[in-house]
């Protein structure tokens, strides 16, 4: 009886926690369809006008492009160096392994502020003009640990004997990698790439310092929210949200593939 009651209590508590996580965001989605320019209640009826104004605004379009460019280049760089690094750490059988592993995880333990100002100082010192390129450098450092974690957790769970047999049968390192390792870890690499994309798509703390005069989508939203003037914020926020959601559903698909 009391265990039963306790379970109900826990269930309500958990429901409250989920409501706390989701209600505010769902409000944003709801008001992105509001007919009038009011940010909040009352709700006046359905309309797509804020979405139309997002897509017709050159500011937003420019920011979406900038975000896409930075995220795609980040994914390409991180996926290539991160895959090699994960193979190195998981296949390296020596004491240096743990040290190497911690080195790759360091950026995740530091706040974005710190990475941002460190990069900014160096860019100022080397007289590098801030641009989407310098912003990408920050994103690469920030996302590398997460890709590394996803890729190496998959590599740890597959039998190195498969690779060794291929090598013993005369396959070169490159052939072994292409025909044995890569097909097995591919779903994890795609999942890792999706995680990197959504982290980069969303990054503000480092980008703020390293981008100069251009705007990524989150930075544009930040300045619009600060001015609190543009009713299309709800619509653009919903689009940003949908973007990350699509990616995370993709990750789930690949993670399920990995586990099965």
């Amino acid at each position: 009886m009391s265990a039963r009651r306790q379970s109900w209590g826990l269930a309500f508590y958990t429901a409250f926690v989920f409501a706390f996580l989701f209600v505010p965001v769902l409000m944003v989605v709801l008001f992105s369809f509001n007919k009038t320019a009011s940010f909040t209640f009352p709700f006046h009826g359905w309309s797509f006008q804020w979405y139309r104004s997002v897509f017709s605004s050159p500011d937003y379009r420019g920011a979406i492009w900038a975000s896409l460019k930075v995220a795609l280049v980040t994914v390409l760089i991180v996926a290539s160096i991160g895959t090699l690094a994960a193979i190195a750490v998981t296949r390296y059988t020596s004491r240096g392994r743990e040290v190497l592993r911690s080195v790759f995880l360091v950026p995740a333990a530091l706040p974005g502020l710190f990475l941002g100002i460190a990069l900014l100082s160096l860019f100022i010192r080397t007289k590098t003009d801030l641009s989407l390129g310098t912003a990408t450098v920050g994103h690469v450092i920030y996302t590398l640990p997460y890709f590394f974690l996803v890729a190496s957790s998959r590599l740890l769970r597959f039998d190195p004997l498969l690779e060794e047999s291929a090598r013993d049968l005369g396959a070169s390192w490159w052939t072994t990698f292409r025909k044995v390792t890569l097909p097995i870890i591919a779903p994890a690499l795609i999942a890792g790439a999706l995680v990197v994309f959504s982290l980069s798509w969303d990054e503000v703390l480092i980008t703020f310092f390293t981008i100069g005069s251009q705007n990524t989508l989150p930075l544009l939203i930040y300045s619009k929210v600060k001015q609190a003037s543009d009713p299309s914020i709800n619509a653009i926020s919903t689009l940003l949200l949908t973007g990350s959601l699509v990616f995370i559903v993709g990750v789930r698909k690949f993670v399920v593939d990995i586990q099965s």
Binding site: M27, I77, F104, L205
Partner: protein, 299 residues
Amino acid sequence: MSAAAETTAGAAPGVRATKRRRRSVLLLATPALLVLGLALLVPILYLLYQSFIVGLGYGQLQNSFTLSNYTDALKDPVNRSIAIRTFSLAALTATICILLGYPASFFITFRLRRARNLALFLVVVSLFTSYLVRLYAWYTVLGKDGLINTALKTLHLIDAPIGFLLFSKWAVLIAFVNVFLPFTILILASAMQSIPSELLENSRDLGASAFQSFTKVVLPLTTPGLVAAFAYTFVLTSGDYITPALLGGKQSQTLASIVRDEFVTFGNQPAGAALSFLMVLVFAVVYIAVSQTRRYKGL
């Protein structure tokens, strides 16, 4: 090298081949190490150097050694009160995250069966929901015409909207908890999932009450996860300058916003650098304390 090949080829060539393989494997890490070296280590070392030279403001630096950036940062009474505010806000955020997240993780892990994966997936969705959108979303809840004020007005509990909900340190706290709660739940849930279910059943079979098996089995086994979640939330909240900027009032400056202002507004990089290294020192102490609890628990 497989074991069979090693025995047939003899020990010496086997060892040599293993060494060669080790070296080539290490080579694979080189690109990533180069990137980390050039874009992380070098900038941090340069920042450290900057924290010991004289800043003249407006981005002007003078290459002479000084400790005054650190002593000024430590002596400034404004900094001190902001530091207390920053770290107590961070500790409060981490504590509330655990108070909300621990029972929820417990329920998801031990009480849900078929819905468990769905619940965890929803938490992941929340984690990946744009950080800025989640901050901004509180405007629609706490704002003058937001959810709370509208509800209170409809219930005739208030006549005029309450103005202090948004742009206060409470708004910052609520948003911080909202942002870091998914992390906390996922870390705790993964700690709880690694507890073998027989362990719980056995403790109950041996006569422990539900409460006892919680305090003697679940709690000790999840302590490392708990401490890790606390440390992670503490560090990332202390370093966040966006949330106070969007949701805080005029009095909601944190150490992170001071560092940002030194860099962006005042161009006094050495002062900002010194302050940020003092913050990193605090973070290092927190991380070391965390690793100590882990060793103590033998995990």
